[in-house]
Symmetry: C2
């Protein structure tokens, strides 16, 4: 166990490295040639253009204005300056609410920290238990401030119980207020949002096959009968699978061609073959390819077999859509499944046609798979690690023997390889979980991410938190827990928790302080951008792709934050020394991510904060874990009355969770009719001549088929403006949110000329 001094040194080192990262960031971001890395969002929104267009050659790359370096930390107040409403407008509600997770961390832990230091630290410190056991090597300065320093059976433990109540009540109060606020923000956002196709549209799955009618006719008839007053139109979902490969292949070829050099050889990789004028060659090539694409697309559209038993059904009013999404349509609840249509950008097309029973089976398989992944992942890892030893490698690849025997390489293998194997697994874990979610058949990207986040959180809870506390693999834990009696389990956790405080403090500093500071420096995107920019970028579109930072990945980020909530809750009563470290993490991360969201990340979709119930639920889990740990700890301290009191607290917390779920979760799942009517009435009054049908006609088209329409639309533009070979901004729009200032998804609305393949 470390002394306070050790912690101080570690804190110094981590603060220093965080400071170095921040300094490097401050300098790098001021250089014009990095501008696209640190402010890509503004470029993608079209609000910022390369600063390199004017000025001297040097000025294009290096900022020589020394005054700007003096204000090198002013990105921080700048990041905080943008008001929340503007932020919602700028980056979407998802991002704005994501930031509130950090804010809620501050709101919860700042008062708790003050209270804990004012009350618990003095209460703990003024005991002499640990001094008496001077011989005990495991005690340290930090332990003197923790609950370990209070003698067994002391009445002072009542302070801890009272504090546990106070902390829980305060957390629940903040959670309640925040849930209310976020639910209001969501409803406000949905109301104030301009007309969007998903407000009028319902996703219908499992359309039953009909031998007499085509899918389109079946859908139309069904909804004309069952929603006679509100049904407007529908779009079918085309099957991509079988035909997709060819389309993809052609499209890839098509886009690749744009990036090739003007003069090239026609042979393999342009290394041999006769030289031809590249532009001429490509014009013919592209002509051929686009003909093939069109042909293939035509074939898909005409093939009745390529139509999936799913449709996007649009209604005349939000009321109609709200009614259809919330009701059961058919006698058989596995047919005609209706649900809110996700945003067009948010649709996960591959999963729209999975039959009901198949989904049920897939969920079962994935639940079992996840159980094994969580508790038994260590087995394959260990066997790979066993292979990754000297002997293992020599056996597996005898020809490497000479190489391996070199002492330096040997020590590298022995020292790092097992660790790297584990690290690699952990890096790929979110991807594995995402694949599992996709297999389960969710129909929107946002729900895929939420599911993955839940699983990642559980994995972390078991393997990182419990794994560190009890110091063993999840498999060992499972064994321990199975063999222990029900009231031994909290004891095992409770006893181990205070002993691991210093470990977690170090963890917070490395992962939470330096890690967050490294996040803002964006070293990887920076290097990749410059590499791409130097060697690959040919056109404006390429540059846009190179600088695209992607979106904030909820499925990785949120579970990581939740670990801090968990640590904060568990240690608040046990080792309050840990709390300031948590507070610093939340403060720093809030500023950094606010900056990143304003300037860098570009959300792929907008789910209107649909993830908040998950966030709320996991903070409740953190509270419950803290209660269990405290029950366990106090039961070893000979305070029998503690358990019933703390069990009461846990029951109250669960009740609070259920209350909030019933009170606020509907706002994230359903759409109240009152709101729908209000909005409908308003819009009818304001804009009574608007023709919804063409607006909704093609809102939901698979991106592959959509290209066609875009192409037609833009070919005209292209021919007039630019070289034929350079595609326009079209590609980038894929990543740009529909500008909410303009009237709806104008970029999705298409000219009437498009063949109407979906409406009979």
């Amino acid at each position: 166990m470390a002394t306070l001094g050790d912690i101080g040194v570690a804190a110094g080192i981590n603060l220093l490295s965080a400071f170095v990262f921040l300094l490097a960031f401050a300098i790098l971001r001021l250089q014009p040639f990095n501008d696209r890395v640190y402010f890509p969002k503004w470029y993608l929104k079209g609000l910022r253009s390369s600063p390199s267009r004017s000025g001297t050659f040097v000025k294009k790359f290096v900022n020589l204005d020394f005054r700007s370096y003096l204000r090198f930390l002013n990105w921080m107040p700048e990041a905080l300056k943008m008001p929340e409403l503007e932020l919602i407008d700028h980056a979407g509600l998802d991002s704005a609410v994501y930031l509130r997770i950090y804010l809620i961390g501050l709101k919860i832990f700042v008062p708790i920290t003050f209270l804990a230091w004012a009350v618990l630290v003095p209460v703990n410190y003024t005991n002499k238990t640990l001094e008496l056991q001077l011989k005990n090597v495991t005690s340290s300065d930090i332990d003197k401030l923790s609950i370990s320093n209070v003698p067994d059976g002391s009445d002072r433990f009542w302070t801890h119980i009272v504090m546990a109540y106070a902390f829980t009540f305060w957390t629940c109060y903040v959670l309640l207020k925040e849930y209310e606020k976020v639910a209001n923000m969501r409803l406000q956002f949905l109301v104030s949002e301009k007309r969007r196709p998903d407000q009028f549209t319902v996703l219908v799955r499992n359309v039953p096959p009909d031998s007499d009618e085509s899918v389109s006719e079946t859908v139309e008839h069904f909804f004309l009968v069952n929603h006679p007053d509100t049904y407007l139109t529908h779009q079918l979902v085309k099957k991509r699978k079988s035909k997709q490969n060819w389309l993809d292949y052609y499209q890839l070829k098509y886009s690749r061609n744009n990036a090739k050099r003007p003069i090239m050889k026609t042979g393999f990789l342009g290394l041999w073959g006769k030289k031809v004028d590249a532009i001429d060659h490509h014009i013919t090539e592209i002509k051929k390819l686009s003909d093939e694409i069109a042909e293939e697309r035509e074939r898909v559209l005409k093939d009745p077999k390529s139509i999936m038993p799913a449709a996007f059904v649009s209604f005349k009013s939000r009321w109609g859509a709200a009614v259809c999404a919330q009701t059961q349509q058919s006698r058989n609840p596995t047919l005609w499944l209706t649900d809110w249509a996700p945003e067009p950008r948010d649709v996960y097309w591959q999963n729209l046609s999975i039959p009901y029973v198949s989904i049920a089976v897939r969920r079962l398989i994935m639940a079992v798979a996840f159980f094994f992944l969580t508790f038994f992942f260590i087995i394959p890892i260990a066997s790979v690690q066993a292979l990754a030893t000297i002997e293992g490698l020599e056996k597996a690849a005898p020809f490497l023997k000479a190489l391996i025997e070199i002492p330096f390489i040997k020590s590298v293998i022995q020292g790092f390889l097992p660790g790297i194997v584990l690290k690699l697994f952990l890096i790929f874990l979110p991807t594995i979980l995402m694949i599992m979610s996709k297999f389960e058949g969710f129909t929107s990207i946002s729900s895929l991410e939420r599911r993955s986040a839940t699983r990642y959180y559980l994995f972390n809870l078991v393997n990182v938190f419990l794994g560190s506390v009890i110091a063993g693999s999840a498999l060992d834990q499972l064994n321990t827990f199975l063999k222990q009696s029900a009231n031994e389990i909290p004891k095992t956790i409770g006893v181990a928790v205070p002993m691991r405080a210093t470990f977690f403090i170090t963890y917070i500093m490395v992962d939470g302080w330096a890690g967050i500071a490294a996040e803002i420096l964006m070293l990887k995107p920076l290097i990749i951008y410059h590499l791409k920019n130097t060697f690959l970028v040919k056109t404006e579109k390429d540059r846009e792709e190179a600088m695209n930072p992607g979106s904030l990945s909820f499925n990785v980020g949120e579970p990581r934050i939740q670990l801090y909530f968990l640590l904060g809750m568990v240690y608040a009563t046990v080792t309050p020394v840990l709390l300031p470290f948590i507070v610093v993490f939340f403060g720093l991360a809030y500023v950094v991510f606010r900056h990143q969201i304003i300037n860098v990340y570009n959300q792929e979709y907008e789910s209107a904060a649909a993830f908040w119930p998950d966030v709320h639920g996991r903070i409740i889990i953190a509270l419950l874990v803290s209660h269990v740990a405290l029950i366990g700890l106090l039961s070893t301290k000979h305070l029998a009355q503690a358990a019933p009191l703390l069990i009461t607290l846990a029951v109250l917390t669960i009740w609070f969770y259920r209350f909030c779920k019933a009170r606020y979760e509907p706002a994230f799942v359903r759409y109240p009719l009152q709101e729908a009517v209000m909005k409908d009435t308003l819009e009818r009054a304001r804009d009574s001549n608007f023709n919804l049908k063409p607006y909704l006609q093609n809102a939901y088209i698979h991106p592959v088929f959509k290209e066609e329409d875009d192409d037609e639309e833009e070919e005209v533009v292209k021919l007039e403006n630019e070289s034929v070979l350079v595609p326009t901004k079209r590609q980038s729009r894929r990543n740009t949110p529909v500008p909410s200032k303009m009237s709806g998804a104008s970029s999705q609305s298409l000219p009437e000329a498009v063949p109407e393949h979906s409406v009979p």
Copy 2:
């Protein structure tokens, strides 16, 4: 442990007593003077009249036709003869589906019994484990047929595992088919039902207060705005509470007066005071009372404070009601809560106005209370039992000392009192659970009964099943389980289960054979009826009340049946000898209850089999308990591979449950729009001029206020037909189901003359 011979003797005794009961029933039911006890349903339906009107005096009371005694068991085929569709018509879907619970027991256990006796019994019997341990006193003949006879680690256990799979799959298959069947029956019933008010009506609770508008205006405005095309009318719910006492008091007085003798004294109990002509006296008395009642009612109706924030809102079509019931109305999900209106008979009026937060708190309190009731009920019982000893009584009531010291009384107190205290508690338990459910705020009688049934089942599972297996109070078990490790718990159960087989066989014979036979004899109602008939009955109405058998109480009956499912499942693989006893129970109970439902019980309400998901879920619980027990048992038999296989089986079972829940439960909760539209269209075509508004206007009126309208309606009839003092059949209608043959709830539809206090 009993030998096979002992079991045979016990079986003989119980069979004999069952036979005696059946014989007594066969004789008693043929006596005309018992006719109203054994066929009250037919009387209440008006399809049977007293046989005593004609014939000689003796024939009025005793059946002298000896031929009828020869066919004394012919009620059995008669009970089975009525086809199910007719049964639904006669007794309602609830009763018909209730019978299917027994039928499903037969469907599950008959094949399982054959399979178990064909495979498991020989496998168990051909071992010699128990013979070798001849000294072991606990082994018996029955044990030789059970799994205990198979030696540790034997490969023969694979038979048991395979059988566990076979039994589980068979049960799940039957459950699936049955769920499908019942769901179809329910939908069919709802469709084929004639027009009923609840098809068009939604119960709206938590109407927010509005300072400018009355509740009625608020409701009307809200629904006119949010359901503009379908809203028809609404009825407010009047508060009874504060004013109710007076009404009740007057009404009681009013009805009491009818029962008094023609000549009486005006003083206390008619024992002194001056003699007056009773009829004259009562006419003036009644006049006074009914004036007061009318006045009081008027006051309640006019008082705006007596209107509760709840309303029954009716729609123009079933579609409109289905939409409103399934959607969220307001931004705040705790306001404007909409749900299907229960049948008018099924409404539990007292709970309609409980605010949302209050309900949440009540649920928490009751959950905690139920936990303590289940696990700690033994504490107050024990303390009362302690008081009910000689010493306790002498201390509490010293003046009884002389009496208690008499040896006979002393031994009675010592022998019976403690048992009686426990028995009394168990008799009152369903009532206690019902009160708890009422406190929780459910709004229909059917949901109250379902909730109580769930709790009663859990109580039985813990205290009767586990309590008998582990032989200790629930409190002891809780202690044992908390102190045992997770994989010790199944072992504890598994080891104890085979040892308790004989106990449960005896239990089944006493409770399931003789008990069911006693049920049909209806000794208690028989005695009560004759007592009442002799001493109290004055009028036809009194006689109807005296013979009213009440309804089948789901909250007591269903949990009792479930105990047999549980025993059957658990012992199917362990001690197959028990299975035939279960089969006999299900067969006998099916016949008996089919007879009772046809001839005796009179359902209070019709919930269209809304309880089936609960029945299904509890049979699944029985399966899971059986898996746990088998896992525990086999893990003590040194068969390590068994556990993963059986855990897989349990996981599959849980998955099956979830699948069924998603697939079939919506049929019991929601009302598919397709059905609603179909029915609406049909009805519009058939009966296009029907005016719904007056039909629905007064369908939902609190019984107290309803009486008024009935009175007005019937006063005319009364004056014309009968003596003023004898109320007409009005009272009995309360217990009669709305005849489904006639066009809807005609008995609830009222003349237009009724003052419209509910519609603005």
